[in-house]
Amino acid sequence: MAMGQGTSNGLDETDTRAVTKANFLFHFAASNEWPVSVKEGEFHLTVVGNERLHAELVDKYAMKLIGAQPLTIHGYSRTEDLPSDGFHHLVYCDVGGAELNRLALALADTPTVLVSDSPDGLEQGALINFVSIGNRIRYEINAADAAKKGVLIGNKIMTWAVK
């Protein structure tokens, strides 16, 4: 035949996990009940160590309303880059282990919900941790520790949690 024998269509290089996680994070922001003290001004969602997730959030979710609060997305390469003076409602940290633990301790006294993607995420102090179940992205929650911070995990979020 005259036509070529080669391949034609390229692989879509979209970061599929970033797309899914971004939507989960948006739901975590929108469906939880935050303390009154942080329900004014902007809603701060911060990503540490995952540029593509940050880009996805900026592209699709920046300035969307969380209640009455416009969503602001922040991105940092490392946990030590995270400014200590500002409040972050929701922080996603891509690295686990000791670095995650240090970040959890630094945020312990704030109503910040720390989200991780690490096999021992909850043990290291995250309140929500992404896990893989049946090749799908799901999440586990430490609802008790969230309540201690004054954050009430919403029913919709609880319903889909794996533990």
């Binding site: 035949m1 005259a2 036509m3 024998q5 080669g6 391949t7 034609s8 269509n9 390229g10 692989l11 879509d12 290089e13 979209t14 599929t16 996990r17 797309v19 899914t20 939507n23 989960f24 948006f26 739901h27 469906s31 699709k60 979710y61 969307k64 893989s132 049946g134 090749n135 799908r136 992205i137 919709k156 979020i157 319903t159 889909w160």
Partner: protein, 308 residues
């Protein structure tokens, strides 16, 4: 009084022979006139002389007449610029030439010319099928398959042992690509046609694999089409997507990613050093939340790149 039977039979036979020879002479004259027009390149005049005579008994078994008529019809087809399944001159030319050859009484030279003419007509079907694949539009598929069917039919009339397996595999692969290319344009995003295009692409790749099961490009393209369709669904997620919808979309996507894995692995087995399949496997495993497997292919990519 009775007439002796032998003279009566002789009379009848003579009458039949006279009629037959008259027909044959007339037929011969029409054929000769048509050939004169052919030599002058006046195809329409040649056709006008010969075509009405072909219903006559004398012509029904005249291979040379069918050959000349077929040749004239082929030239008329060329002059008409017609194309597609509706090009009547071409269909008639094929029929006339096949009939001439089937009689088995053509001279060697005429037979070769008839075969060359049929080969030309067959390839014209093929060329048009390929043109339609290259400029593929939704709904063009039946015409393409029809043209290819006629191409194969002509080839097999010239050589009954001709094996069309490879060409069928190629055609289905090209149709798979044509469907997939339209999907990539996003012109049909979110429409019912999008699902038709996806189903069409997958069906053609699978049909191609039944003819050529280990064809690298078909396996790779099938995997890519499945994977990309999953990503396409995922990219529609936005701030209006509910948690329930997110879970449903994930189920659909993961199903497609899982389906993509097998042909991608088979393509990789065919050509283990190809970066595109290594990258494909790394990406599919990543999408399936299998970081260890994804990292293993990432390391293989790095190793291949280091060798370059």
């Amino acid at each position: 009084m009775h007439t002796p039977s032998f003279p009566r039979f002789t009379f009848a036979l003579t009458a039949v022979l006279i009629v037959l020879s008259t027909w044959t002479a007339a037929a011969q004259r029409s054929l000769e006139r048509a050939e004169a027009f052919v030599r002058a390149g006046d195809w329409d005049a040649a056709h006008a002389v010969l075509a009405p005579e072909m219903d006559q008994a004398a012509y029904a078994s005249n291979a040379r007449a069918w050959f000349v008529l077929g040749f004239v019809q082929k030239e008329q087809f060329k002059a008409s610029g017609a194309s597609g399944l509706d090009a009547a001159e071409r269909s008639r030319a094929v029929g006339s030439l096949q009939r001439a050859l089937a009689m088995g009484t053509l001279s060697i030279r005429d037979e070769q010319t008839a075969r060359d003419a049929l080969d030309f007509l067959g390839r014209s079907y093929f060329r048009e099928a390929i043109e339609r694949v290259e400029g593929f539009t939704l709904g063009a598929e039946p015409e393409i398959l029809g043209l290819m069917g006629r191409y194969e039919s002509v080839l097999q009339s010239l050589n009954p042992a001709y094996d069309v397996t490879e060409q069928r595999a190629d055609l289905h692969r090209y149709l798979g690509q044509a469907h997939a290319n339209l999907l990539e344009t996003e012109r049909y995003a979110g429409t019912s046609e999008e699902q038709m295009l996806f189903d069409g692409a997958i069906a053609h790749y699978e049909a191609s694999l039944t003819h050529a099961p280990a064809h690298y490009a078909t396996l790779y393209n099938l995997a890519i089409t499945l994977y990309n369709h999953g990503v396409r669904q995922l990219k529609r997620i936005n701030h209006e997507t509910s948690m329930f919808e997110l879970m449903e979309i994930q189920d659909v996507c993961v199903g497609l990613f899982e389906q993509a894995l097998l042909p991608m692995e088979q393509a990789h087995q065919r050509r283990p050093g190809r970066l595109e399949t290594l990258k494909g496997l790394m990406t599919v495993h990543y999408a399936l939340s299998q970081p260890e497997a994804s990292d293993a292919y990432k390391r293989q990519i790095e190793a291949v790149l280091q060798k370059k």
